[in-house]
């Protein structure tokens, strides 16, 4: 991590409706960041955004991937799935908006706070989605951040 061009790339397959393994990718990313000696406030933010992105793929998509790139300047997180896409991104970003089923809500998901959490905890957030195709959520968290 001392060398400027050292980038660590992590990649995880996330499976639709796999609630038993859900959260494992995020937990693994967190362990690696801890081993790298990254600041605990940064780790907390990365843990929150990776978890929310991972759960959205499990719950709302047909499956996809979580990619994390760690460099000395920033951590980049990409959550990419194979559909069905988000119809109205602006609406999806609102606190409390959720299309989760009652069954999913009983498990404690569907507060409509995942995307707002991602926005709060990241320095850059870009969502690219097309109905019928898929969704890519891209985030950056800077190592030296104004946020706490």
């Amino acid at each position: 991590m001392n060398k400027k061009d050292d980038t660590i790339k992590l990649e995880y397959d996330i499976i639709q409706n796999d609630f038993v393994r859900a959260g494992e990718a995020s937990s693994n990313v967190k362990k690696i960041l801890k081993q790298l000696g990254i600041d605990s406030k940064i780790i907390r933010r990365v843990a929150i955004v990776t978890y929310e992105a991972e759960m959205n793929i499990v719950i709302h998509s047909y499956g996809g991937k979580l990619l994390v790139e760690i460099s000395s300047k920033k951590i980049e997180i990409t959550a990419k799935d194979n559909g069905p896409g988000i119809e109205d991104i602006e609406k999806a970003m609102q606190e409390g908006f959720s299309t989760a089923s009652n069954e999913i809500r009983e498990l404690g998901f569907g507060a409509g706070m995942g995307l707002p959490n991602m926005k709060k905890c990241s320095d850059v957030l870009k969502i690219d989605s097309e109905k019928g195709k898929g969704t890519t959520v891209y985030m950056e968290i800077f190592m030296k951040s104004n946020q706490n």
């Binding site: 038993v20 959260g23 404690g108």
Partner: protein, 109 residues
């Protein structure tokens, strides 16, 4: 405060053993996982009625000290297995979340 002291005072059932030195610094109550992720602070003890395996991921990711299952809900087997792997203590109480919180408050947590 030591988690072991809280277990004694609450008269809670230990589902997954804590390490002796586990410290509790605060309390968070909630059953909506995204809110817990956003609001619970490191070393909080988390009171919930959720019992499925994903609560262990939540507790691990935001460094919670322990999970207390309220209302005597049964904890899933795979949740217990995962919590052991990840070293997340789980307690179970017949009391409501409110009653547990009142006891913790009286203890000074």
């Amino acid at each position: 405060m030591k988690l072991t002291k809280i277990i004694d005072e609450l008269n809670a059932t230990v589902v997954v053993e804590p390490k002796d030195e586990t410290e509790v610094e605060g309390v968070y109550i909630g059953d909506l996982l995204s809110l817990v992720m956003a609001k619970a602070q490191e070393n909080d003890i988390w009171i919930t009625i959720q019992t499925h395996i994903n609560i262990v991921a939540v507790a691990t990711l935001v460094n919670l000290s322990a999970i207390v299952i309220a209302e005597g809900m049964d904890v899933d087997e795979d949740t217990i297995k995962k919590a052991k792997e990840e070293n997340i203590p789980i307690l179970k109480s017949e009391l409501s979340a409110y009653e547990i919180a009142c006891k913790l408050c009286r203890l000074g947590v």
